[in-house]
Amino acid sequence: MADKAKTNTEDYLRMFSQMVRIRSFEDNANQLYLSAKMPGLTHMYSGEEAVAVGICEALKTTDKITSTHRGHGHCVAKGAEFKQMFCELLGKEEGYCRGKGGSMHIADQSNGNLGANAIVGGSMGIATGAALTAKLQGRDDVTVCFFGDGATAQGLMYEVMNMAALWRLPVIYACENNGYSEYTKTEEIAAGSITARAEAFGIEAFQVDGQDVLAVNKLATELVGRCRGGEGPFFVELMTYRYHGHHVGDINREYYRAKEEETLWKTERDPILRFRGWLVDQGIASEQDLEALQAEIKEDAENAVKYALEAKYPDTSEVDMHVYAA
């Protein structure tokens, strides 16, 4: 593991538990789909936990993020609660968006999450604009824009990176390169080098092991600090992997990726297992402590699911409410 950025036990354990919370959330979401209790489809973040947690642990609540169709991890990592999240996934009134957004539009403005986005690359302007507000209003907020390797094909990214670079905006473009966009390998859709594309706009770019939460957090902490000091923007490519299919319904995937590859990532590079091992090795926590923590989180998630399943749907009168703000 990389050198530590977070430096005390409490921080480490929070990072660990946030990763476990994401995994638990996703396991339950997947279960809800498989048991036909969830409306629509959803995209699992499992496997990529170190990315969201490593970065969001470097942020303050007032810092902003924008998220993607694969957004539960970002949402949890930025501070959201299970109950409101599951309620949203089930279209219930107590959801973060009163059930109107669902998985692909979950937003949590109380914690600075400006929302998931169902348009690939659709939030790149939004993130850059949030950074512009911070700069114009003299706030030291930093915005992180999460997006996938597939989104690097969208022209919008280059348009906003150009402006972010010209105007030195406090924004970090965080490319979660999980090797695939839908059913296609990244090398088939991305010519040249992803980091070089950012560098060509004069943006400092980094590549980091996205399965190593400490490495991610260390880099993020440094870049967030430099952003606050007026040195933004930055670009980070985080090498990671999604464990499930593109979405929960993508079950038979041998035609585009091998089982062995999946097994390798799950067993050898799992961000939670790796960090857990490190915590124990370093004597920061015992196996039992961590077991207990995991069990507790699991129970939390299950309780939240139960709660959400029983929660009520929005009243039909809500249907034409919130089209316009007062």
Binding site: P39, G40, M104, A118, Y183, T184, I189, A190
Partner: protein, 331 residues
Amino acid sequence: MREITLSKAVNEAIAEEMRRDETVFVIGEDVAEAGTPFKVLSGLVEEFGTARVIDTPIAEPGFMGIAVGAAMTGSRPIVDLMFGDFIFLIMDQLCNQAAKTHYMSGGKLNVPLVLRTNLGATRRSAAQHSQSLQALVAHIPGLKVAMPSSAYEAKGLMKTAIRDNNPVVIFEDKLMYQDKAPVPEEDYLIPFGVANVKREGSDITLIGTSSMVQVAEAAAEILAREGISAEVIDPRTIVPLDEAALVASVRKTSRAIVIDEGHQSYGVTSEIASRLNEQAFYHLDAPVLRMGAMDVPVPFSPALEDLTVPTPEAVAVQARRLCAGEMIHAA
């Protein structure tokens, strides 16, 4: 006649035309091995290879622009746009470039391309994956717009679109991909601008597009049980629009409801209703009514989403009012 799904009908239409004309190719995201997320194009890459079934990066404006240029130079691209909602991303290439090139060049350059995409809510896909945006495209001169209502139309209109020398946008209802209908084995085309009378009737005309043809037919069933005879017409293409057929029906029945899954305001129903009001005014016993989707972004929650789209029951309610001679909006 054998019955096949709408999905299979589209697939057959494309495969047949690709066999007939080697300048036809397919371009879009995950169209090759994956055969699109809806699996509509499965098998094509096996037959035609990756040179003619081309997977792209997630760059809709880019591959739409590439298709325009390819079409201008002797190819006949079929662009696969995964969700109708992404039309917003390609509007410039579609409306400023593809639609206007023939005219701006004084008739010298052609852009024979097909944009296939979809429409339809109630899949719990929320506001950015559920829109029915045909009205936007229909507003732009130079584009033709087809809206198949069954596997039969899907195949016949697709083949006509591929052979057309203009940019044609086809909206498939994504909820209908698994619906079966009788489809001939032999080659057939459905001409553009020819409406189809799905059911004859004498008391009221129900005009539905795409997904709403089924709704209109179901409403007609309900009404039939009550002794109201509804004529159901499917325009099949909204540009060109078979105004004559629609007007003739309404002149006969004296009442009409136009149903479309796009938002009601500034939508498809407004245009069709306006033309009927203009051209059948003296025959009308009541105003032509419009039923579009609610003017709200499509909500995720099933408890809300289902309220936003016209249903057979809702259509029947309005039809009953019209037929009962109830004054609609009288002051």
